[in-house]
Amino acid sequence: MWSVIVLLTGPVLAGLLSLVIHRARVLHVVNFSTMLALAVAETALTRQVLAEGSVTTLGGFVYVDALSDFILVIITAIGLSCSLYMWSYMDDRVARGVIAPKRLGHFFFLFHMFLFAMVAATMANSLGVQWVALEGTTLATTFLIAFFRRRESLEAGWKYLILCSVGIALALFGVVLTYYSSVRVLGDASSALNMTALIGVANQLDPNVLKLAFIFMLVGYGTKVGLVPMHTWLPDAYSEAPAPIAAMLAGVLETVAVYTVLRSKALVDQALPPEFTGNLLLTFGLLSFIVASLFILIQHNYKRLFAYSSIEHMGLAMIGFGVGGMIGTFGGLFHLLNHAVAKALAFFVAGNIHRRFDTLEIDGVRGLARAQPITAVAILVAGCALVGLPPFSPFVSELLIVSAVAAQDFSSDTMHVGRFVTMTISDEMRSLGIVALFLFFAVVLFGGFMFRVGAMVWGTPPAGIAQGESWTAGHVSLMIMIVALLGLGFVLPEPIQMLLTRAVNVIVVR
């Protein structure tokens, strides 16, 4: 109970405080201590969820089960390391006159509103409130993306606002359709959009309405996830946003958007055979994976490179959820965590490089190993992790997803991707076809990504670039994330494993 209240009110209070505080140091202390409080509250909530299964409080408005708790773990963990990183990053931006000192308060206000909207979207019991909160994240982040007020950032912020608002308006129609079908069964109750009420009656809902509802929600929330072909805002937004915000967008916001898709999938799967949602997710996932890996080949801007890698990883997670089953879903969820850590690390690194080299062009960055040795290690780790090399944790989750695809048991009377790839061959060949396609583009991606990263790390730095690097608060969070990526590759701590297994049981319908 208290942990839920802390998680919801903490960001709001911190945001309002940020508007009245003017000293940078105090702002950072408030920000960091809020994130610390959120992390503590989240730990307590996790204990409660593991003990009781699910938590419903605040008059039924808040519903936290293993799935939403797992997403909350990601939000608070990445948020905490982000606040450490912002300490050095934002001070540096102010010192160099990129932003006026008095705007620092606005930055933290928007940041905490963003955080609040994400926490609310994850905890909301009602699908409608979840939608409201997710649209809230769009509204809070558009000015964060355009925070530097350059031409490009204004353009990116505008595109983001318009595309995501439109996408999410379509999702609202999906929510309306869900309500249309549920209010029939539950009667005219104000609880007819609540997950707690829907779960019990989901198998009585009308399948035709739910089909249409799921398509609208997938397209709408999929825009927020950045699935191809609704991804066009994403590289612009990530490359123009300040580095910590890009890290939060890529690591956390995408995860929350995936969570909303999973919620609707869990609902629809009770009324329809899981192949319906599964094949849609598989199609979008595979398409995103392939298109993103091709675009990675032609990138010359390192932040855009990481942005396309985000699309690719979300596609990968969607493939996992699309294949479904225990292994695929477990792999997909675990991949969300690994991607969040690796991608946040990558964008922190991008922020460090940008501050030293003052360019976003990959060609302008040479000899990182000499200029910024710590950052060079971090970008190598992030690069290896993002292309799925062992011993880093994304390797484990990708392996789980691939083996789930290979072992998938296609039922032949439903429409699926496999039919386009291999028309008349048996089921085993069809899943092997997808695996082959997947592995081929994984190799393309590996080459493209590591070539770019390698080009930045080795060589001699351009003239006029200072060499050597001193430790700041930001470097501490880099180290923590490197350790996390390595550690999760070898051992999955008991509580996280339990949380993941229970979250899988929320999604997979038997």
Binding site: S126, G128, V129, V132, T142, R151, E155, K159, L172, Y179
Partner: protein
């Protein structure tokens, strides 16, 4: 079906069709201020539909939604948008991605598509409002189309607001309104979105000397 239900159902249909007509008028209109006025008119029809449904079904909370529609979508948002237009250096939209006759034809096709998509689920609906669901989807699709066809930031925002109106008509028609907390939240989001667009057009005007989104071409592959 009793005579009063039949009359009520026809009145609701009439109101929904008026909303749809406003959509076509917006697609056919070049003047920015007229687009905003038409949006306000459409919102007024939406409020009328909601009030009618509330009256016929006795669901009191829909009156509340109708009142909020009048305050936010008929008065506040159009006023914000008109203020923005006053500051701009253009009042008419000259370049369009798709010209008006072709646009109107496409919109006609979209209405057919909307009826086609919703056909299997319409029989589930309440007798009073069953056809409005198809019209709601048509309005959403036309709003979406407006955003694609137009280049000015203001008309793109109007397109978005038209989509929202469509969703609200759908909610009122299909399920006699959504839970109150959700409706409040959606209104709040729409209002904030309107304010943000106002600020954005201001900054775009200052930075690019235009609110034509076709000038936003720096970022691409």
């Amino acid at each position: 079906m009793s005579a009063s239900t039949q009359l009520g159902s026809q009145l609701v249909d009439l109101c929904s069709v008026l909303l749809l007509l406003c959509c076509f008028a917006i697609v056919a209109q070049r003047r920015l201020s007229a687009c905003v006025d038409l949006f306000a008119l459409q919102s007024a029809f939406l409020a009328a539909t909601a009030a009618l449904v509330a009256f016929l079904t006795g669901h009191k909370h829909i009156y509340f939604a109708a009142a909020l529609t009048i305050v936010i979508k008929v008065i506040v948002l159009p006023r914000i948008l008109r203020k923005v237009i006053e500051r701009l250096n253009v009042s008419r939209e000259l370049g369009m991605n798709i010209n008006i006759p072709a646009g109107l034809l496409i919109c006609g096709a979209l209405v057919i598509v909307a009826f086609f998509i919703t056909q299997p689920i319409i029989p589930l609906g309440y007798l009073l409002t069953r056809d409005s669901l198809a019209i709601a989807l048509a309005i959403i699709l036309i709003g979406f189309f407006t955003m694609i066809a137009r280049q000015k930031a203001i008309t793109q925002m109007v397109g978005f607001l038209v989509m929202e109106n469509g969703v609200f008509l759908g909610a009122t028609a299909a399920a006699y309104g959504m839970p109150l907390i959700v409706e409040l939240g959606v209104f709040f989001d729409v209002l904030v979105a309107g304010l943000i667009v106002g600020i954005y057009t201001h900054r775009l005007q200052d930075t690019f000397d235009s609110v034509d989104t076709s000038t936003l071409t720096v970022l691409k592959e």
